[in-house]
């Protein structure tokens, strides 16, 4: 059982660091609480939907900001969506970039928007990698015959 304890400890430390560094917030914990035996992959499923959704939105944003005549309402609509979905899964840093991004949209500030888009992409990639690492750790624990600790 040594491997399992080690993996569990790793998992705990990793999760704690994600919260401490602001990648995840309480909403992610809420999602985990929703998961149960009737749907043991719920969190992974929702997060996967978030990944798909995000990639579409980021592409749409890139296109929208490359137009000759930028439709800031449209840009704002995409950012609003991105802010919503990141907030719903607890991806705090992504959400925070979206808040700033929306302000730039209101001001029709192209430079600001371009910078925010890049930041949004960066934060998204970071949180995606971290969540994938987390899910990986979970799988390793399960495969080693252990159970995944969860914070309440």
């Amino acid at each position: 059982m040594d491997t399992v304890s080690q993996l569990q400890r790793q998992f705990v430390e990793y999760t704690t660091s994600l919260y401490r560094e602001g990648y995840l917030d309480d909403q992610f914990t809420q999602l985990q609480k929703l998961q149960d035996e009737s749907n043991p992959d719920f969190v992974v499923e929702v997060v996967s939907l978030f990944f798909e959704d995000s990639e579409k939105l980021l592409n749409n944003l890139t296109t929208a900001l490359h137009q000759e005549n930028i439709d800031y309402k449209q840009v704002d609509a995409h950012v609003h969506q991105f802010k919503g979905s990141s907030s719903s899964i607890g991806a705090q840093r992504v959400k925070n970039v979206c808040v700033v991004f929306r302000n730039y949209c209101d001001e029709k500030n192209l430079d600001g928007c371009v910078v925010c888009l890049q930041q949004a992409k960066n934060e998204y990639i970071l949180v995606r990698n971290k969540l994938e690492t987390l899910f990986n750790l979970e799988q390793q624990i399960l495969q080693a015959g252990g159970s995944v600790p969860m914070m309440v």
Binding site: R20, V46, L49, F50, G84, V148, M150
Partner: protein
């Protein structure tokens, strides 16, 4: 952060073996706690008796049992309307975890069709299947907003009695006021939590009204045979 001081945690995967003890007090493991509030009191012999039933949590007087076809009909039917797939999925789970049946719609237009107000009467699940007891709609949606949907519901003689909850990621007092004035039962900020959903159950109407229905608190409630 979202940590509580309680040392209890739930192990949430079906592959559970004897969990090792961790020394960090936030991470001790306890036997699996199932979601007690949505499943059932197991061995009450009077459960199957149609003339009386009791609910140990008694939130709404819906008999909370599992895998019983007879009682399946009693589950409140919620229509969740949101253009975001992520949010639809989360809300669906929030409500199914509270023993509700859930239908989702990605637009106000689709929602109206499902409520029997659209052009195509065949999609009216309100007529065909279990009636909808509650509508939960996002405010910001392209095309028909949640507010527009709310208005349409409240203007229709068929469905105006169905309670509508509006949810939004934005805390805009004028928006909230507008929705409440239009007849929304409640306005809740996203993202929703399980606690929000539990509170909503008292808004749900049932096809079979139950005497003595209360919203809050734990109690044992009897339903007598003259309630239809």
């Amino acid at each position: 952060m979202g940590f509580k001081t309680s040392a209890e945690i739930q192990t949430r995967h079906p592959l559970r073996k004897n969990p090792p003890q961790l020394t960090d007090s936030n991470w001790s493991q306890t036997p699996h706690l199932h979601r007690m509030e949505t499943i059932t009191h197991e061995s009450d012999p009077t459960e199957m008796d149609s003339s009386s039933s009791s609910s140990s949590l008694g939130e709404i007087g819906v008999e909370m049992k599992n895998n019983n076809n007879k009682v399946e009909e009693e589950r409140p039917h919620v229509l969740v309307v949101d253009d975001s797939l992520v949010d639809r999925k989360i809300m669906e789970k929030l409500f199914t975890n509270s023993a509700c049946k859930v239908t989702t719609a990605d637009s106000g237009k689709k929602a109206l069709e499902l409520l029997g107000q659209g052009e195509d009467k065949h999609t009216d699940i309100n007529q065909q299947g279990p009636k909808i007891n509650l509508v939960v709609t996002d405010y910001c949606m392209p095309g028909m907003t949640g507010y527009d949907l709310l208005k349409k519901v409240k203007e229709s003689s068929d469905i105006k009695e169905i309670p509508v909850i509006v949810v939004s990621s934005e805390n805009v007092p004028t928006r909230i006021k507008k929705c409440l004035e239009e007849g929304a039962q409640e306005f809740i900020l996203k993202p929703l939590k399980q606690a929000d959903v539990k509170k909503l159950r008292c808004h749900m109407q049932f096809t079979k009204p139950i005497k003595g229905r209360l919203c809050m608190g734990r109690y044992t409630m009897k339903r007598t045979s003259d309630n239809k």
